[in-house]
Symmetry: D2
Subunit: 337 residues, 4 copies
């Protein structure tokens, strides 16, 4: 890539200025020749030639058919969504040394911040307390704290120590509690090097007062937190369901919350929109959020910044550093979730 | 105090086990001879002798009349509330070298945690979002984030850098924004040594996206944030009113919130209970909390822990280290608020 | 002090520009009327009047006779040395509410930095290794590391958790080892609140791989580390003697180092200059430094900065925040060392 | 790798127990079938079959000829030295999806610790001061600090922000100075995300008081710090030459140190052993160390720990996380240094 590389920006369903701040868009244009970057989809007749010319593809899913024939020059595929593109011929990409990258780490800060906000809302009863004041039935001081507790000094468990956890962990450290993690893909040595105590899942569920579910969905972790595991959670602990509903048995979770077994902060649901009559809408034991942790306007620009940072490196024939590379060993697990 | 000192525990309006965990109560009994420690007030006829004998007084206000005559042996007065006792003859106490101490720093963690929780609830619209889900009118993902923003990287201003700020500051550091403070009693050198940038009040109000009002009430700061100053706050900034409503012109604040000029998280009110028909109850621009930041059950034990830690030192004829000593220069300002 | 207070700067044995940077000296002159601030001692005939007029005294020892009669206006005595002035009538000072302050915390950073430097020099054999290269007898790589070890992850013990320890502790945290402390004046609760584990002295000596002796000399701790205690130190541990030789039995220490029982970094000696023929000069088990931890030119200005910061507060009738106040309970112990 | 993988441990010039602690060696044997792991080289006649069978190769250089034919099963090549193996057919390795990994990050802590030790020794004159005491010509207190300075608050520049820098950076943060970095392979966005300010090399040299040379040698950076660049260094700054002498013009460096232009801490030399009469041996402006930063006995086990951590992951068909993967774009630059 000694000449200025050519990039195709084709983010189905996402607008250019939703992902790229104006500064980053200018940086992108300084770095590469942009073959296409509009909010509308590429017309069919232009597409064929553009694909032939592209060195870098910035997309939000794979909808280009065969990699082998259509992208003869491609050096990098960058997905701006949170997961790996499906339908891509990864073997071909790896064989050709094409970087397959996702902007998932760019979600880290906004999602982590919301996860902490939901945790505090749950234990300090912030949403309930706000609602009480609006209805004129609030209790002051001790009267309003009969069932609250603090995050400070509490044992915390993290399920899935990836990009969100990496952003959340520093926010939790000043609260002083022990932090443990379960992540079967990372190994105990890696987890310890990050400053968390590795724990088997069941032990983590039993011993943590705050449990953050941050695992990316995979074919391995569907309903990982099934009814039996959810029943291990300590009374009055707080479960923060942040990454995907896929990871829990949502009906079992709803049952246990209905019984008041523990508390929850929930940002993701098995169906979105959640059915209007879903009984979880009425439960006081949960703080509910409509998949809002990862779409803050300014937060989305974190994604674009990572993309342009790595495009700059790719344009200089250097390895990318900011986006997350697809790992050959995990592709099948992650794209079949 | 080479013999075991004698302590009177007489916390008007607070129960013993509300302040002292059972462990700390045991430690207290190991350290001193407790002359009186019941939830009921001391009978008048016992009181006179007890006061004569007390080396240490643990109270929640001063209701003993003249210090001079009634407490001949007193070495320390410890107030477990958040402020200095009123009505005490401080000159006499200072002259006699009696430590006058408050457990105010013990409120730091619980209040700081709530302040952060309210800040996140305000910018990420957690309470509003929860309420929307209960009413079946939630918007998902980008639709639910049209007016949200993040705490990450935002300029933060702290008004009053005392015990609450000392506990809050570490929680804010990992969010990466610049942190400035206004505190006329501390001096710029001290503030800088704590890692914050000193700023004049008006500049802080204009430049901060999150403003934490943490100043203890004093005769100097009544309605410090008057209408003119509140109007300096940037559009869509978040004001966190945490320490006392005394510090703001609450009607002006309500007006500006009603106009949607900025947002707020409010834990304290000029009248508590707040009148049922106060118009702030209906405003979506504020997250409301019924003076609940500083009365978490387990949080209150932080107060007792500090008390017993210092009683242990006093019993060994050592200076106290954990409670906050009354400063001679500030007593009048603080007790006439 | 509503009018501009008057200050006498009379630092026996220290030059003005050794303590105050030019910026801080300018700040001082802006804040107070300086009655005397020269490197020469005050002439006897001027002195009497100056003392009568002084609100604030900045000195490096007490050589003014009776406080009672000679300083009718005095509000603060500030000693720029590391310890409390001797010969002062503390009872009179406390009775009159005069602040007695020392600039000791200003030594923290420079001394802490040297303490860490000596620790690394000892375990990584930096001085020995440098000397070997000059003599052409160096061994490379593994050959030069047969007896070295790392600070990372090692148990650290701190004896005396005051100003130096407060500056050293943050430097040690990233090395990841557990940090314990022994300080009989502070109490376990305080130590824990600072993030260190309180330990009895003997246990600390036995269990620590790096032992930092940072205690201020007092009448209580003369030869606290006597031969018996020094013998508890683990083989090949490192003793850093930083605050004062007063705290150890120096002959016993020399014996044990001569036997190669453990290592040391030593900045302070019972006699300075150390006798030319003292056998410790020849021992390879110690890194030696001629009381150089606390006199770095730029480091001395830390003292002056603290002084002026607090003079600014005193001039505004506010309590000082940066200098260390004399504690009534400790004065006798500290001034009779 | 669902069956237990087979590993060949063949670390030319390094002993098994020099790299692996007994715990880690036990872990290795639990995880893989070890085909060969002795300190002696493999006999020729055994070698052919062993290579045929190996899934994982743990080596310290490549001395096996053609990858293509001899290692039909190989999934990972792990070099326990600090650099990439030379002579390996990287294209073939990448094409086959073989992980090429180095244990370089395992040197981070021991080297970083020494770099800091040398920096403190240089500015606080620890080795010089120790030598003075042995020769009975030491100066005490201010007399011994006429030319010393502190690391606290000084601008720091890092050249090469890789594994050593990642370990050193946390050690420098508590010293409070600004930290900038030059690394042409990483990009400004990445550097900022690590909390350092990216700077062009010349600006970094001019503006830093402490300059850490940590760059891995490559065909791009031979004598990167040539005479002209070395002359940009500020008077009395400290250059820490840590990674490789390759990166500087050593004769120019010696000249400038001889003139007393700045100071240095030097752990690596263009020839090792350094010629006995090299004039740098006599210069007081440098602290000298015989390539001793990266061979501490217990430090070497950091390498082995990373190796076994990743072997555990590989054995479970998961991507490695601890060792450093060879980047396709950098292989040629790094192996032709």
């Amino acid at each position: 890539m000694t000449a200025k590389p050519r990039a195709l920006v084709d983010m189905y369903g996402r607008k250019i200025d939703e992902i790229f701040s104006s500064d980053d868009l200018a940086r992108l244009h300084d770095t590469v020749t942009v073959l296409w970057a509009k909010d509308a989809p590429m017309p069919e007749d232009e597409a064929a030639q553009v694909l032939q010319d592209a060195d870098i593809l910035i997309c939000s899913q794979w909808r280009y058919g065969e990699l082998r024939d259509r992208f003869p020059r491609l050096r990098a595929i960058i997905d701006v969504g949170g997961g790996l593109p499906r339908g891509l011929d990864y073997e071909e990409a790896f064989r050709r040394g094409i970087h397959v990258l996702t902007a998932a780490p760019g979600f880290g800060r906004q999602v982590a911040e919301m996860a902490l906000g939901l945790a505090l809302a749950a234990c300090r009863e912030i949403a309930i307390g706000d609602q009480a004041m609006r209805q004129g039935r609030e209790a002051y001081m001790h009267g309003g704290n009969e069932t609250t507790f603090m995050l400070f000094d509490k044992p915390i468990g993290i399920i899935g120590y990836g990009g969100i956890a990496s952003a959340l962990h520093p926010l939790l450290i000043p609260f002083g509690g022990s932090i443990s993690a379960y992540d079967p893909w990372l190994g105990d040595g890696y987890l310890r090097s990050r400053g968390v105590t590795p724990k088997p899942l069941d032990q983590l569920l039993e011993e943590s007062k705050f449990i953050f579910v941050l695992a990316a969905p995979s074919s391995d972790n569907n309903a990982l937190l099934d009814r039996g595991r959810l029943e291990m959670i300590a009374p009055d602990a707080v479960l923060l369901l942040i990454s995907r509903a896929h990871v829990v048995d949502f009906e079992a979770l709803t049952d246990l919350l209905a019984e008041g077994r523990f508390r929850a902060g929930i940002d993701v649901f098995p169906e979105e929109p959640l059915p209007a009559d879903h009984r979880i809408r009425a439960l006081q034991s949960a703080v509910l959020s409509a998949h809002r942790a990862g779409s803050v306007r300014e937060g989305m620009w974190d994604l674009g910044r990572l993309v342009v940072d790595d495009v700059e490196l790719l344009a200089r024939s250097l390895p990318p550093r900011r986006l997350q590379p697809a790992a050959r060993e995990l592709v099948t697990l992650l794209t079949n979730a």
